[in-house]
């Protein structure tokens, strides 16, 4: 196991996905956005408020490790909404096989709850909420409401 990385707070994983540089305190929201709960089967490690050095500056970050599952880029991209600096590392046999940043997706389905109580997406209909990510904010494709602030609290 020569390649096994050293000095980490939580142990390295053999195969899976490591989401690093999550905004401090946002790890649990990240899991929720990925649909990972205590009821799902992934083996999880979570570290929150870890001291990290980025560009020579000391700060705090969260880390999430999901064993035995390679999260797709689409799955992870949702995280950009709350943590645009997060990075995704796909691990195969203890090695970082792929490393990428997150990108804000253009469309979000079933992730954000519309703030307009009169919106049809909040009625009991067989649809997922649908938002377009625009410069002005998140634009509901059903009722045209634009969510500009506190996006985190509207995540389903």
């Amino acid at each position: 196991m020569e390649d096994k990385p050293q000095g980490l707070l939580i142990s390295p994983i053999k195969d899976g996905t490591v989401i690093d540089h999550i905004r401090a305190g946002a790890a649990l929201t990240v899991l929720r956005m990925l649909g990972i709960t205590g009821q799902t089967e992934e083996e999880l490690s979570i570290a929150t408020n870890v001291t990290s050095m980025t560009c020579g500056q000391e700060g705090k970050k969260d880390i999430v490790k999901v064993s035995n599952r390679e999260l797709s880029k689409e799955e992870v991209d949702r995280i950009a909404l709350i943590s645009p600096k997060a990075t995704i590392n796909i691990i195969r046999d203890y090695i970082v096989a792929e490393k990428k940043g997150v990108e804000t997706p253009k469309l979000l389905y079933g992730i954000i709850k519309c703030t307009n109580s009169g919106c049809i997406s909040n009625a009991n209909e067989p649809i997922k909420s649908a938002f377009e990510v625009t410069e002005a904010g998140l634009h509901c494709l059903y009722c045209d409401t634009v969510i500009t602030t506190d996006i985190e609290s509207h995540i389903i």
């Binding site: 009169g118 049809i120 649809i127 002005a136 009722c143 045209d144």
Partner: protein, 297 residues
């Protein structure tokens, strides 16, 4: 398959061609039987007799027939059926659906489940594209749709007709003058969007300040529910009322529009003036809706 859900789905060319088509229909209303043998469902989950009658008249003039659901009472809706299911079922009976619904975004949802074209006849405080098109059509009858100075008067916050009209007019390099009571101003997000689309938006405290510059006054109802008490409502309503005296200062050729029904926003004496175009505007609903039906069916 084409749906008409929001005026925002229309580009300038599309609007122009629909208005031109409505004009052609208007000029020869008896010759159009393009919906011969077609049936249209008027699904009205919220009462709006005028809009429903206007669509019914448009279908009939094109030679088609309508079936109407205008009561939630006793229908499967009151038993908890989703709009998605209703629309799927009704689609199998007809060639198009005209939908009015209290929830915003209902028409977009309907278009996702319908197997026939859907025309939005108003969803909640959301979109009502046929109203906007007939407003544009009425302006266009009096003046070319460009470089207009339009005054929007009344409740500009909750009044959806002014929102979509302002948006649609932003295709035509217009200047929008807003005259609204405090707290009922045009939403900031819409003003930003209008600016981005190259529109000038100017706020005014008083209609008399700006009236000599206006080509169009579009006035809307101020609802009593928006005010804490009757007295403050009457004070506000009074200062946003269009009277012949206010109109004395108007530019030649200026027109007054109102989506109707009105409740005191326009003095009845204005009805006699040549600038009063609101009844004409209501009448224009029929040719415009005929053009919309032809467009989708």
């Amino acid at each position: 398959m084409k749906h008409i859900i929001s005026i925002k789905d229309f580009g300038k060319e599309e609007i122009d061609s629909l208005l031109a088509r409505a004009g052609a229909i208007d000029a020869a209303p008896q010759n159009q039987k393009t919906l011969d043998g077609k049936q249209v469902a008027l699904l009205f989950f919220e009462p709006s007799t005028r809009t429903r009658m206007s669509f019914a008249s448009a279908v009939a003039r094109l030679g088609g027939t309508t079936i109407t659901v205008d009561s939630v009472e006793g229908s499967s809706i009151s038993k908890g059926e989703t709009l998605a299911d209703t629309v799927r079922v009704v689609s199998s009976y007809v060639d198009a659906i005209v939908l009015r619904h209290p929830k915003e975004g209902a028409a977009r949802l309907a278009s996702e489940f319908a197997s026939v074209p859907v025309i939005n006849a108003g969803d909640g405080a959301g979109q009502h594209p046929s109203q906007t098109l007939l407003d544009l059509y009425t302006i266009r009858q009096s003046m070319p749709l460009k470089n207009i100075h339009i005054g929007l008067l009344g409740d500009l916050r909750y009044g959806r007709t002014t929102h979509s009209l302002a948006y649609a007019l932003s295709n035509y390099n217009v200047t929008i003058h807003t005259i609204a009571p405090p707290t009922l101003e045009l939403p900031e997000s819409l003003v930003d969007e209008l600016h981005r689309r190259g529109c000038t938006v100017q706020e005014h405290a008083d209609i008399t300040d700006i009236i000599p510059n206006l080509d169009v006054i579009y006035t809307t109802r101020i609802q009593r529910e928006r005010f804490p008490d009757a007295a403050s409502y009457y004070n506000v309503a009074e200062s946003y009322r269009i009277t012949p005296e206010i109109l004395d200062e108007r530019k030649e050729g200026m027109i007054v529009l109102h989506p109707l029904p009105r409740a005191g926003e326009i003095d009845p004496r204005v009805d006699e003036l040549p600038c009063a175009r609101y009844f004409e505007q209501a009448r224009n609903g029929v040719p415009v809706r005929m053009a919309m039906l032809e467009e989708v069916i």
